[in-house]
């Protein structure tokens, strides 16, 4: 086998070159995303003020040096030029001058952290998180914050994902590392399982009540939690990523309408907590996001877009049409001294791209 060594050398060199070129090209593409491109929203650098009323703040996905930074636009002109602050986040939410930013830590091995932000966007406290950020929420008063990350390789079935949700009280400094430590009542009975997963917390105005999603045994439940009693009670089945309306009477959520494994499995719904009635919203696309109440009548949510995701709005009463509000953006929040104080119908009534 004299040719064996030659063959090995030639093919190995070929494979090594291919691998090198692949990484090199990917590095070029990554550098390309750092350069501004035409047709993208204008971005200027500026300060962040989470207390200043009337602005929408989000993670800007537009290519250029400000990519992944927190950017703000006036609620009256969400499609217009943005102001970006030097703060990178993958997921973000803010209310009443408190911000929670889930971000990637620098280093060779990817790690993530949750950063509590003050009204100026300065880091107040860092929390290590055990997975990939997916949801972030601040209570309307700005006192409680919650975040959810995906953890992989944590399931006995192997290869499946689980979630980890933490709640932090900024006033007492108490960190509830994982909701899995809380008592769970399913249909009124205490429920223990190794496959409890929680995600997508939304807080009520009393800074004690909250809603979230519980996944167990292949089902999902909307659960209502009591933070002081460290307990969670199921409210109804098949309701994920809840978002409580500013008046606390309705919950926007995503409902699975197609089975596991199917594409486009979710639809956006609003649940009336008093009557228990569900209303499907006018958005026909599958929504995989925790919607934001822009005001008492309008919801804002992300859909896949050319540069990752765009923000769309839809009326919360089931009528109207979805409108694209902000291109290349994700993880929105409304700024202001008290949460969700935006004048009714601002963005939605003058949205740019109707479908």
């Amino acid at each position: 086998m004299r040719h064996r060594a030659t063959l090995l050398t030639v093919v190995t060199a070929l494979l090594a070159t291919t691998a090198f070129l692949a990484v090199d090209r990917a590095a070029d593409r990554a550098a390309d995303r750092e350069r501004p491109h035409t047709g993208q929203p204008a971005i200027q650098r500026g300060e962040l003020d989470l207390r200043r009323p009337g602005r929408l703040v989000f993670r800007s996905l537009a290519w250029g040096p400000q990519r992944d930074r927190l950017a703000t636009v006036p609620l009256t002109a969400p499609g217009g030029p943005r102001t970006a602050a030097p703060r990178d986040c993958l997921r973000f939410h803010a209310a009443a001058g408190t911000g929670i930013c889930l971000r990637k830590k620098s280093g060779v091995i990817p790690g993530h952290e949750a950063v509590l932000l003050d009204a100026r966007g300065r880091a107040v406290r860092h929390f290590p998180v055990p997975g990939i950020p997916t949801r972030a929420r601040v209570s309307p008063s700005g006192r409680l914050v919650a975040w959810t990350v995906f953890v992989s390789g944590d399931s006995y079935a192997g290869g499946a994902f689980s979630t980890r949700t933490a709640v932090y009280d900024t006033r007492t400094g108490t960190l509830h590392d994982t909701l899995e430590d809380f008592t769970v009542l399913v249909n009124g009975r205490r429920h223990q399982a190794v496959d409890h997963n929680f995600w997508g917390v939304t807080f009520a105005a009393d800074d004690n009540t909250y809603y979230a999603t519980l996944g167990t045994g292949g089902r999902t439940y909307l659960v209502r939690g009591d933070l002081a009693r460290r307990s969670l009670t199921t409210v109804r089945e098949n309701a994920e990523c809840p978002s409580l309306s500013p008046d606390g009477t309705r919950i926007a959520f995503k409902k699975r309408i197609r089975p596991q494994g199917a594409d486009a499995p979710w639809r956006l719904y609003v649940l009336d907590l008093r009557s228990g009635r569900e209303t499907p919203l006018a958005e026909r696309a599958s929504v995989d996001d925790q919607a934001l109440w822009l005001d008492g009548r309008t919801l804002l949510y992300a859909l896949p877009g050319d540069f990752g995701a765009d923000l769309w709005s839809v009326p919360a009463n089931g009528g109207g049409h979805p409108r694209k509000e902000v291109a290349s953006a994700v993880s929105p929040a409304v700024t202001g001294p008290v949460s969700a104080s935006a004048p009714a119908g601002t963005a939605a009534s003058r949205g740019s791209t109707a479908r």
Binding site: L7, T18, I109, P128, Y156, A157, G218
Partner: protein
């Protein structure tokens, strides 16, 4: 040795071979074949672990989908893998071409790395991953048969120890390689898949160039005497020691609850910061890496069955450690758990194959290994599901106590099943 290896194949005649070992005269060349197979597994594991390490990031950050939207790898996949493993083994035995069958498995998995570049939906990724698992299922038994046929009956433990050491080294290095690519190219998941493909292709190249089909078998096999599936099963059922070892492996597997549960208990007991959770399997893998070869060699000296059972003793010790320990400082407890679990894998994974191989006639070696390993894997899967249920109904402490009882009974039953001098 509890089980006689030299007479194992005497009672049957399915092909042309009557001895349990092959070609022990060429020690050096044979060692090279085992090392070549180990290197193939190593680069293949680098390739597959690169993908595994970035897949969650790719799904969530790259594609922006919720991984909870689809059960990635569930029981269905496990079942398919088991079935494919048996088919691959039988084909390899029937054609006497273990290397090409293993090669097809490696090549299929390599192609799947390119397939990942072509799909963007969770459903599509699920299909590609299933194909990848099919490739893994196909190659496992023919590869283990090649390893066992490339070493003498006295060196089986060492051969599998060498292979599992290299294999685990690849699995530990893979994630580092993937993160190096992502560090060089931010969000460059496609580049990770491309580099992963190049590694997998390199593995196929090494297999093609440096792994030899063991030459001991008669090259001319009468096609009429090639063992069919029924004859294979009947012969294996009558092969001395095989049914009892298979039964013991399944029994022991049925009392094994899965590492994730143990990590979960450890995490709860120590109130361990959740960010350490993904690192716990790395600790076990590192211990496995260090112990695989020494324990494999020990098994050759003191007896593979003895080591196999002692390995389950280590697992029992791990259960008891978690059950009985009041919280001490976290680090010693975690390290003790890693060492016990690493020793368990080192004393069972390769050693089970090393214990089974000499019992099996070379003509049925892949099938026999596949049956024993699949029986064990199926039992483990069922045990994990059952344990999850017990946990749900009664809580972790009761569930772990039940596991201790079950494992103790399984070890006792296996001691009886595999006792020295047992006939038939």
């Amino acid at each position: 040795m509890y089980l006689s290896s030299s007479r194992a194949a005497d009672s049957i005649d399915t092909g042309s071979i009557k001895t349990g070992s092959v070609d022990t005269g060429r020690g050096n060349a044979i060692g090279r074949n085992v090392v070549a197979l180990g290197l193939v597994s190593m680069v293949t594991d680098v390739s597959s672990e690169m993908v595994t390490a970035v897949l969650p990031l790719y799904l969530v950050v790259g594609l922006g989908v919720s991984p909870l939207a689809f059960g990635l790898l569930d029981g269905v996949y496990q079942g398919v893998t088991a079935l494919v493993r048996l088919v691959g083994a039988h084909t390899a035995d029937r054609t006497r071409r273990r290397k090409p069958v293993a090669g097809v498995g490696y090549a299929l998995s390599a192609a799947c790395k390119l397939g990942l570049l072509a799909v963007t939906t969770p459903w599509g990724i699920g299909v590609v991953l299933a194909a990848d698992r099919t490739g893994k299922g196909l190659r496992t038994a023919p590869r283990d048969a090649l390893i066992s046929l490339s070493a003498g009956p006295e060196a089986q433990g060492r051969a599998f120890g060498v292979h599992r050491t290299l294999d685990t080294a690849g699995a530990l290095f893979g994630p580092l390689a993937a993160f190096a690519v992502l560090w060089a190219a931010r969000d460059g998941y496609e580049a990770v898949f491309q580099v992963s493909f190049c590694c997998a292709a390199f593995g196929v190249l090494l297999l093609a160039l440096y792994v030899r089909e063991p030459a001991a078998q008669s090259p001319h096999v009468d096609p009429a005497r090639r063992p069919g599936a029924v004859l294979t099963l009947r012969t294996l059922a009558r092969t001395r020691g095989v049914p009892r070892l298979g039964l013991a492996a399944a029994l022991l597997g049925a009392a094994t609850i899965g590492d994730a549960f143990l990590y979960l208990v450890l995490q709860r007991q120590l109130a361990l910061d959740a960010r350490w959770f993904p690192l716990l399997p790395v600790g076990t893998a590192a211990a496995f890496l260090l112990l695989a070869l020494p324990i494999g060699r020990l098994a050759d000296r003191v007896g593979r069955i003895r080591v196999l059972l002692a390995g389950h003793g280590a697992l029992l010790a791990a259960y008891l450690l978690l059950l009985l320990t009041n919280v001490v400082s976290p680090l010693p407890l975690a390290i003790a758990l890693f060492v016990l679990l690493g020793a368990f894998y080192a004393a069972t994974d390769g050693v089970l194959a090393a214990a089974a191989a000499p019992l099996l006639p070379p003509a049925l070696r892949a099938s026999g290994l596949a049956l024993v390993q699949t029986g064990q894997a199926a039992a483990r899967f069922a045990a994990a599901a059952l344990f999850g249920l017990v946990w749900t109904l009664t809580g972790p402490t009761t569930a772990l106590t039940a596991a201790v009882t079950a494992l103790t009974m399984a070890v006792c039953a296996s001691l009886w099943l595999l006792r020295p001098g047992k006939k038939g």
